[in-house]
């Protein structure tokens, strides 16, 4: 098999078809379109108004994986944007300047509404102000306060619910011409919760040895439907059922996680990873792990859209608006650093990982600022070694394959040494 050829599972193919269908809907000219963000998105609410969900971060990722983001970022910088700022934003601005072509080859329509629901990232606010300059369409703000003390407060929840009732819903009604029906929302939320149960089962399946899934590189695919335009749909439920059946089959066969080149022959290292992946060299990056037999058993990135496993959150049809508020508040990067430390430390222990790897992203302060302290705290709590690499989201200038590989190899050696010294009992027992 060629190294360029990627092994795709059935669920992978199904998801690809779902995403293509969503892009066709967005570019089809029949549905109203909202641009909004992934973390804590209000997909079920948008569905209540028959509005299609377009996610600029996903477009930036798609362009990065197709090696197109570099020229888009350069275009944005030529138009006056700084080298220093978020590259998702610049990839989006550059994409607009280059004709705004969707991954299906058709031009994106101008959005009918910008739903500025920013959770866990302050930069999102500036991003949509910039898009508003271009599109001059209605822009509705849902301000989600930062859960700085670890838990959402009643004041925060009430504030979000009030914004939903008094600002967001009226604007969506006006844009769409559809009257809000709370029972319709309840039904979508009921379906969300079903899919979320299977998502959590998938995440927790990596507690097994060998892990049947990779919860970072593979996790990026597994989380696709739930964090984008499908949460609350029957097809989302079906997707996670299918994924679960596939994983159950892998478990029954005793297979290791999949890699870009097929099933990993053996599982040598079990890692927890903090931070988003690099998208411009995604497969090369993944292979650096899989060729060493390193599987990621848990990652914070699979919680970037919302956290379901840490404290058992599920969308609740009994309390629809409050449930949306809790979902927004609970997004991983909307939780304070002590909570993030606790979450990762628990992952290290419960998933019997060998260590924590942090991929620090140059253009994502929301994730990156504070990661060095987090690493030290987690090492202190768990006694397991941490390591730090630096890349970027979608700017190819900031991915140095040699440096990353070198650091990873050193890290794996460090884990080996720790094992020999008896410092990583879990791994030694593997």
């Amino acid at each position: 098999m060629s190294r360029q050829e990627v092994v795709k599972s059935n669920s992978h193919m199904v998801q690809k078809e779902m995403i293509t269908r969503n892009y066709d809907r967005i570019t089809g000219g029949t549905a109203k379109v909202s641009s909004t963000f992934v973390p804590g998105n209000l997909n079920e609410l948008l569905m209540c108004f028959d509005i299609a969900n377009n996610l600029p971060e996903i477009n930036a990722i798609q362009n990065a994986m197709r090696k197109k983001s570099g020229e888009m970022i350069a275009e944005a910088e030529r138009s006056g944007h700084s080298e220093d700022v978020c590259t998702y934003v610049k990839a989006d601005i550059g994409m607009m300047a280059k004709g705004n072509i969707a991954p299906n080859g058709k031009p994106f329509p101008d959005p009918d509404v910008l739903l500025l629901s920013y959770t866990g990232c302050f930069t999102f606010m500036k991003w949509f102000e910039l898009l508003r300059e271009q599109y001059k369409c209605p822009t509705v703000m849902l301000h989600v306060p930062y859960a700085a003390d670890g838990l959402p407060t009643k004041n925060m929840r009430d504030y979000i619910v009030k914004q939903l009732k008094e600002d967001v819903i009226p604007v969506l009604e006006k844009v769409s011409g559809v009257k809000f029906d709370i029972d319709r929302l309840r039904e979508y939320l009921r379906k969300s919760a079903i899919a979320e149960n299977d998502l959590v089962w998938m995440l927790e399946s990596s507690k097994r040895r060998p892990s049947p899934v990779d919860c970072y590189f593979g996790g990026v695919y597994y989380m696709g439907p739930i964090f984008t335009a499908f949460r609350g749909t029957d097809e989302c439920i079906e997707y996670y059922r299918l994924l679960r059946a596939e994983i159950e089959e892998r478990i029954a066969k005793g297979l290791c996680a999949q890699s870009p080149d097929g099933d990993m022959p053996e599982e040598n290292y079990r890692l927890v990873v903090e931070g988003p992946p690099n998208w411009t060299s995604f497969r090369d990056f993944w292979r650096m792990f899989s060729e060493a037999g390193a599987v990621v058993v848990a990652s914070s990135y699979t919680k970037v859209g919302g956290v379901y496993d840490y404290d058992g959150f599920r969308h609740d049809p009994g309390h629809p608006l409050e449930s949306l508020a809790d979902y927004c508040l609970g997004v991983y990067t909307n939780r304070n650093l002590p909570t993030r430390v606790d979450m990762l430390a628990r992952n290290l222990v419960e998933y019997e990982a060998d260590g924590l790897l942090i991929n620090s992203i140059k253009s994502c302060n929301s994730f990156s600022a504070g990661q060095l302290v987090m690493m030290r705290e987690i090492e202190k709590i768990t006694g397991k070694p941490g390591a730090f690499i630096e890349t970027d989201l979608v700017d190819p200038r900031y991915f140095s394959a040699a440096n990353v590989k070198n650091r990873l190899e050193s890290y794996f050696q460090m884990i080996d040494q720790k094992r020999r010294a008896g410092g990583s009992a879990a791994a030694a027992g593997a």
């Binding site: 006056g80 703000m141 004041n155 009030k162 140059k362 929301s366 060095l372």
Partner: protein, 391 residues
């Protein structure tokens, strides 16, 4: 006692500015047993509540140009701005050991996460991330904000061991109203007579206000204005500029001096925004927290850290400032890696460009030392403006 000359007042302010051990604030705390000091970072926190709790609000604005950052660099990657690393450095070196609590306003993701680092490193300290609403409707954002202020009040009351009453807050509102009036008078005076109130001096005067109790700072500003008015200083042939984007990590003092030396009078700026955040007096009658909330929602500064719901009003603060201060141009100055300022800039430029307002952009860090390129850039800018004006 005869009034101090302006140089003496400025020298005293400079001493406060350079003292990273915060001797003045330590003295204030030591003067009465049980006193507490609450640090806050830029851009805006309701200092009135802290003051009402009998505590000293202390502005923490980074380590400045001269502080060597050793430990702080182990906390932050190279692509993160400098203010959090120098702030951590100060905390680790014990320079903030007398500070009983820290407030982190909602500016950006870096400052937000710094609040978490504080929680991890200084577990015994009071830490409050202070979220301000981005929804400016009284019954929505206003209710949220008032409740946040009540939580702050109650937290400080617990820390201080005494109730913070509405009357306490009303009195503090009056103190800060008075302080703000004098801040505005200094700014107005500088705009009218920039040769008599150089920006480096005004900056030092405002920085002193981050350390001194507001009552003392007000007296200092009164004294400075009288002395500056009396001083005989020569007017230069400088152009008049508004400096914008400097609301958080502070530029080195030398940068401000360099801009002036190169031929630019800074007639308005967004340095020390906390002192000028509220644009009108806060009423001292009625519900004080409601009054503070309404002041924030309806009469507060526009900055990159705030959402502007009305696209037509985007950048209006800068245009108003250029007009009010009769400025010839704008200098956009942002700290490196500052998402809010750097992402806001293209939008603001698109508003001032059609009006023919000249501008330049510079980038800095609080420890930038090479001023020659900045001086050349701003000098060329000033010359160009003068040439245009003459034509």
């Amino acid at each position: 006692m005869s009034p101090r000359p302006v140089g003496e007042i400025v020298a005293a302010c400079e001493e406060i500015f350079e003292d990273l051990s915060f001797a003045k604030a330590r003295e204030w705390k030591a003067a009465v047993p049980g006193r507490k000091v609450i640090g806050y970072m830029p851009v805006y926190v309701p200092r009135e509540i802290v003051h009402a709790a009998g505590m000293l609000p202390l502005g923490i604005l980074g380590g400045g140009a001269d502080m060597e950052v050793i430990h702080g660099d182990a906390f932050y990657q190279s692509y993160i701005c400098r203010i959090p690393r120098s702030t951590i450095e100060m905390a680790i070196n014990g320079k903030l050991d007398f500070v009983d609590g820290m407030m982190f306003p909602s500016i950006c993701d870096v400052i937000r996460n710094l609040s978490g680092i504080w929680k991890l490193l200084f577990k015994e300290k009071y830490v409050r991330y202070f979220d301000a609403p981005q929804n400016f409707r009284e019954e929505v954002g206003g209710v949220f904000y008032a409740n946040e202020m009540r939580e702050l009040r109650d937290g400080l009351a617990k820390l201080g061991g005494r109730e913070v009453t509405d009357d306490d807050i009303r009195r503090s509102i009056a103190v800060y109203n008075e302080n703000r009036r004098w801040v505005n008078r200094v700014y107005d005076f500088r705009a009218d007579f920039p040769w008599k109130a150089p920006s480096a001096e005004v900056y030092l005067l405002m920085r002193a206000g981050m350390v001194l109790p507001p009552e003392e700072h007000t007296l200092l500003m009164r004294e400075y204005l009288a002395a500056a008015e009396a001083a005989n200083r020569a007017m230069r042939d400088n152009c008049r500029v508004v400096l914008t984007g400097t609301f958080c990590e502070q530029p080195p003092l030398n940068l401000i001096k360099s801009l002036e030396m190169s031929g630019c009078y800074i007639v308005d700026d967004d340095l020390m925004l906390v002192s000028r955040w509220l644009l009108e007096d806060v009423p001292t009658e009625g519900d004080p927290i409601g009054n503070l909330s309404r002041a924030f929602l309806l009469h507060s500064a526009e900055t990159a850290a705030k959402y502007e719901p009305d696209i037509a009003r985007k950048g209006s603060y800068l245009i108003d400032s250029v007009r009010k201060r009769k400025a010839d141009g704008v200098i956009f100055a942002a700290p490196s890696f500052c998402d809010p300022a750097l992402l806001d800039k293209p939008m603001i430029i698109s508003r001032i460009e059609p009006l023919g307002i000249p501008y330049i952009h510079i980038q800095y860090a609080e420890n930038s030392s090479q001023m020659q390129p900045i001086r050349e850039q701003s000098g060329t800018f000033a010359d160009t403006i003068k040439l245009w004006s003459a034509s």
